[in-house]
């Protein structure tokens, strides 16, 4: 966006099945460490799908004050944890910044689902008087935004968006627009967890979850063997700041620049009109004022469903030409995290720019030639200045975000 103050990423916090801090997560991504395993949270053997990407070493009581534990679902605990890490990474003294200049924009696809499952059970087994006093706000989709706002004293524009997987990227896009409109700092991203029995079968009901029992073969996006995805839990929170505000508070280290965003919606199937992903990519590039040839890597949505993979490949071919850009999906190691997935990909994109190293799509081996895309199958050392992150949501949501190399003065190139 020409003439606008650049919007920087000054902090990142990750809560992923492969790591609870950014560097551990990144090392696991580069090492191909797979967090997909049998879901052992309950007896999963009675259901048709068994593999999940779970976070195993998260003890909320180590990270959150005790009073927050009874009132929060697991996904809110993960969000509060990631937000605290991101703000600490950004070295923000929130007390020293204007309270109305700090906003929060997050996405969750499922809300506090395990918490609410327990309350539904109490209501129907025991009666309304047994429902928790916290249910009214532990469940709803705005809970993570509200809790982060309270914990860090952020009183500026706040919002919560839902668009299944795409919502996690739309939230960062909304944070970008909020910063462009004048909000100095926006805490943004997405986190999800719905791995209780009801959440699990509800995810399975979508018909796209892999029935495989082999962790290395269950989620194979862009592979000719693709047959679905593995659900996971977690997400990431980022701190976005206007460059002028970051300069003023003396920020020295910047992870990168959020250059542009766009989202579109698909026409109904059978309409004969083109799908919307290509247009979302082109609009995001235009918003970022970055040419397609300048994009060094694409973090794909990579559902792992043949028709959807083929459509994503077609959009990429259309914009970048055949094999025109490296395409990767390190999310195969964590599973798809609903609204939490795209913000984790944004973290990966920024670390790729930092290290000049594209993480591989670990388990994908045989990409159909007609896809015409260059899927990164071994970590690839290559300088990257601009990266494109894609996310789609069930029923036709398309979201595209461009991040770029930069420092506190803005983008390099």
């Amino acid at each position: 966006m020409s003439g606008a103050t650049p919007v920087l990423v000054t902090g990142m916090g990750v809560a992923a099945p492969t790591g609870l801090d950014t560097e551990t997560f990144w090392r696991a991504s580069l090492a191909g460490q797979n967090a997909v395993a049998e879901h052992d949270g309950f007896d999963v053997s009675r259901y048709p799908c068994r593999l999940a990407g779970r976070i195993r070493q998260f003890d909320a009581s180590e990270h959150l004050p005790g009073r927050l534990l009874p009132q929060t679902d697991r996904m809110t605990r993960l969000a509060l944890f990631a937000a605290e890490r991101a703000l600490s990474d950004a070295a923000v003294d929130t007390g020293a910044l204007p309270e109305y200049g700090m906003g929060v924009v997050t996405s969750t696809a499922c809300g506090g689902f395990e918490f609410t499952h327990r309350e539904f059970a109490k209501l129907w087994a025991k009666g309304p008087h047994h429902v928790s006093v916290y249910e009214s706000f532990a469940w709803f989709y705005a809970v993570n935004t509200g809790q982060i706002s309270i914990r860090h004293g952020m009183r500026g524009p706040c919002a919560a968006l839902v668009a299944e997987q795409a919502g996690g990227l739309d939230a960062i896009g909304q944070a970008l627009r909020s910063a462009r409109r004048g909000t100095a700092l926006v805490t943004t991203g997405g986190v999800d967890s719905a791995l209780d029995p009801w959440g699990w079968v509800s995810q399975v009901s979508g018909g796209r979850v892999s029935t495989s029992t082999e962790p290395e073969e269950a989620y194979l996006p862009f592979d000719e063997r693709a047959h679905g995805y593995v659900p996971g839990e977690g997400g990431a929170i980022l701190v976005l700041e206007r460059a002028d505000a970051a300069l003023e508070r003396g920020v020295s280290r910047v992870h990168g620049v959020v250059s542009g965003h766009a989202s579109t919606f698909d026409p109904p199937r059978g309409s004969g009109r083109p799908r919307g992903l290509r247009r979302a990519i082109e609009a995001a590039l235009s918003d970022a004022e970055v040419g397609a040839q300048e994009i060094g890597v694409v973090f794909a949505d990579a559902v792992g469903v043949p028709q959807l993979d083929q459509e994503e490949a077609e959009a990429l071919r259309g914009v970048f030409g055949p094999e025109g850009v490296p395409v990767t999906a390190p999310k195969v190691l964590t599973g798809r995290l609903s609204a939490g997935g795209p913000p984790v990909d944004v973290v990966s994109a920024l670390l790729t720019i930092r290290d000049g190293l594209i993480p591989a799509t670990a388990h994908t081996a045989r990409v159909p030639a007609e896809y015409g895309i260059d899927v990164v199958r071994e970590n690839r050392a290559v300088p990257v200045r601009h990266a494109l992150v894609l996310a789609r949501g069930r029923h036709g949501f398309n979201s595209a975000l461009v991040v770029s190399a930069g420092d506190v003065r803005g983008r390099h190139g």
């Binding site: 009675r46 696809a109 309304p128 706000f137 309270i150 706040c158 579109t264 698909d266 026409p267 109904p268």
Partner: protein, 413 residues
Amino acid sequence: MGVRAPGGCGQKEFWDLLSSGRTATRRISFFDPSPHRSQIAGECAFDPLAEGLSPRQVRRMDRATQFAVVCAREAVDDSGVDLTALEPHRIGVTLGSAVAAATSLEQEYVVLSDTGRNWLVDDSYLSPHMFDYLTPGVMPAEVAWAVGAEGPVTLVSDGCTSGIDAVGHACERIEDGSVDVVLAGATDTPITPIVVACFDAIKATTPRNDDPEHASRPFDRTRNGFVLAEGAAMFVLEEYEHARARGARVYAEITGYATRCNAYHMTGLRSDGREMAAAIEAALRASRTDPGDVDYVNAHGSGTKQNDRHETAAVRRSLGSRADRVPVSSIKSMVGHSLGAIGSLEIAACALALDHGLIPPTANLHEPDPECDLDYVPLVAREQPLRTVLTIGSGFGGFQSAMVLRRPGGVRA
């Protein structure tokens, strides 16, 4: 605009109810409310087949989605805009909802769990639509399909300010040039045992079960909680020149919007109204409106002890001496509190008030509360020429939102 509200169907009946000061709050009929502390609600008479939805649409859509789609169609008809003549990607959808598909979630839960008996739910009873109740991206998607939108489509879920924030979000997308037309508004159908129990648990809803018709008493000394309700309102929002070029009938111009968070408590409000005042001040600044030019304030006025005090303080703090003279009223006294939807219903009420030069009253206000000392237009509507009105909302999570609407000058054909 398209409206579905308790006490009548459609815009005309909605306005008839508001301008007459009648109330639509009754004992809950959707289920036996006798185990609940609060047994009152504002229910809508709504027959989806008679409203033109197909049996398949009725089967797959949650009640809240049905409301939204019906209102969206009605809004398009009412606007006279020929959407098929526009580029689909220049049309967006922003839908607000606080609890989304809560009704369907509960219906499915009761079956899957065998009325709360089984934590390991029985997936042999799984609905293919369960995924869409788990994560409600499908709600704005259905609206997008109904109107042929292929631009940005999203669900804004900011709890009880969703109805203002969704319209505000849509305005920002028009301002930033992403779209020319947005179907924007909000829907909620929360009259289901789990939601009733949520608010029972924190005593937010009124226990005045012996007098349902007079149970919603904003600003009255005897108020003791809000009345839960359902409803929806959708608008065709158009960029000003776009509307003018086609000679559109214009209800109102949205001239300012702002949202702030209190960063204080997920459900509690400080009595000083500080952050809501900040939202009002920011919305007036965006609108370039002097407090002295505000002709009417459509209050959040939920009828809880703390809200009405908080809000009165916020109006005093932001409008200064104008607060002593400006009429303030709460339509929740008549149609109850439909959570995320009500903010859009209140925008509809403001637009109709501008159109008719009539301020809807605060029903059931017989005994003024000494702590609530504004002109609340008790019992009887007031005829008065209106040029600029302010609508405000407050919600769990700490959200405080404000929007300024102005009577269109010379735009109206």
